[in-house]
Symmetry: C2
Subunit: 347 residues, 2 copies
């Protein structure tokens, strides 16, 4: 190829550039200016496949120069539908997430999707790995309920994502049940039952998750009744042994404790089994209300009072939203779903 030829091609490029700038820049214009294929531009746009930073930079520079606005239809033309959806959750070895993932999978199956799962175990590195793997694997969308803060990959991923509970960014709708209402009902029920010293156990503070509204509600109700709210925040990733240590501390710090509102049923179960060690008879000396009310917990601990989340409904709403996102719509977060107080024998 001679020098003249290259020059001519570059001139042609320049001509096209000014031309497209006056109308709408197209994906192929970006490809041509960046000197890459249209598929590569599409992959950069969709953050899919392994791409060198140099390629990504070139494509972004071209997009910027051409003031290119990727449009969904154009993107979809290049997007091979894989009919795979990725789910990233802390684990399936838990009554709440087990039921949620099982239900998500069932609904997705009915709608023709296969499901890739990643149990992030609340490990940010693992969550990031999963995300990159899933992006590279060309899933059509993601439903995430993992609990790590601000993974920047989600912000950049040009991929349909729906979140459960966790707040990520404005583009990602969040499905939650009414956590504020749940925390309020539980705290008010213990106050109405005559409890004097009511303690709350919850996940880590400052978590960007709708579940933190349970703690907010507990604290507000306590203050309304002129009580001092006391919350024990438990980090994720801690072992059952470490959890037991913290729960034991509640009994030691507050020997007069007569009410506990937990943020999940497995913690309530652990506290139930510790109570006899401190000569507390449930519900006479100590009343406990759990949270979640998953099928398996209801089966194994039918006597536990709990705030039941509509887990199957959460799954259904999340899949509906994901399908909207996949079809190019921009749904916002739905209103919180209703929770239900199940009065058992522990409150």
């Amino acid at each position: 190829m001679g020098y003249a030829k290259i020059r001519i091609r570059n001139l042609a490029k320049m001509g096209e550039k000014s031309m497209v700038n006056s109308k709408h820049a197209k994906l192929e214009d970006v490809a041509q200016l960046a000197g890459v294929s249209k598929t590569t531009v599409s992959r950069v746009l969709n953050k899919r496949g392994y791409l060198s930073q140099a390629t990504i930079d070139k494509v972004y520079a071209a997009m910027k120069e051409l003031n290119y606005q990727p449009n969904t239809i154009a993107r979809q033309l290049f997007k091979q539908k894989t009919n795979m959806v990725g789910l990233i959750f802390p684990t399936v070895n838990n009554p709440f997430f087990g039921q949620l993932v099982a239900k998500l999978e069932n609904i997705l199956y009915e709608r023709g999707y296969k499901v890739l799962i990643g149990n992030s175990q609340n490990d940010p590195q693992k969550e990031e790995d999963y995300l990159n793997q899933l992006l590279a694997h060309q899933v059509d969308g993601l439903i995430v309920g993992a609990h790590n803060r601000g993974l920047k990959e989600y912000q950049h991923a040009n991929l349909p994502v729906v979140s459960i509970d966790r707040i990520m960014n404005d583009d990602i709708p969040v499905v939650s049940s009414d956590n504020y209402q749940g925390g309020k009902i539980a705290t008010e029920a213990l106050i109405a039952a005559g409890c004097q010293t009511i303690i709350h156990t919850d996940g880590p503070e400052n978590l960007e998750s709708n579940t933190s509204k349970r703690q907010q509600a507990y604290e507000e109700v306590m203050r309304q009744h002129e009580r001092i709210p006391v919350t024990y925040n438990l980090d994720f990733n801690i072992s059952t042994a470490e959890k037991i240590k913290i729960f034991r501390k509640i009994f030691e710090d507050y020997p007069q404790v007569d009410g506990i509102v937990t943020s999940n049923d497995t913690d309530a179960a652990t506290i139930l089994s510790l109570a006899p060690l401190y000569n507390k008879k449930v519900p006479h000396d100590l009343k406990i209300i759990g949270y979640d009310g998953a099928d398996m917990t209801r089966l194994m601990l039918p006597h536990l009072s709990t705030i039941q989340q509509p887990i199957d409904k959460i799954a259904e709403v999340a899949v509906n939203l994901l399908e909207e996102k996949i079809s190019g719509k921009k749904p916002s977060s739905p209103p919180p779903l209703e929770v239900k107080f199940i009065k058992g024998l522990t409150s």
Copy 2:
């Protein structure tokens, strides 16, 4: 293309055929005789992708005529490694399968595999759909623990498969814990504790699964002690309400029942919550020993006596075997893994 040319090609084919028959037929010989591409032959061999029955028949006819023996190395040359493994289990919404799938996923992740899940819910149609989808999706292998009988797809699938508990065919290694020993320990413990009328609850009879050895052990121990074994077999797929009906029937058929050996902990939990309705105090009037001892059950029902399976170990052995199969080896079923009796407060 003229007539002469076709004739020449066919003659050439015939010549090659006799030639290759005298040595080893190669995949390309099969392709040529069948009039399809090598990729198509590979897909037929690996049962992957959607193929018409006509194509499959042509390829098989050519393989038969050439006495073609597919060899692993040749197959692997055509096989794109996807680093995806499919898991087919009844559900993740269960303490045993939840822990098993979570552990399988963790180990597979560490070894660089992504995981596709299918919750078959013991529905043969769904299981078959999953299998076909996973085959079409080119997973590198499958680990299955679903409970449907004789799905013929597994027999034909030329794909690395490892089973947990379920007996499929001679090529598929089965990982199990020592079900016979588990059934024996539980029954003997209740006899030693002085129980007179010991009932067993189990899954469906005649299931081709190693778990049926629990029932076998129960019956043998009972006969050794001159007792009449009575097993209530529960079909999969029945609702909790239907299960409760059957468990109530135990109390009605055998009002004197003072010992129950169940085949899983969730059934033990259900029976525990029914006992007060028949004025049975556990363990005074009725002793119950469950089965599985999954982490979540231990956490929620720490007092339940149970036979604990080494669930994490089962997952590890299964992945090791799958990797052996993927690398072209033909491992046989390993010896059963040890179970452990956990004496709680219900026996």
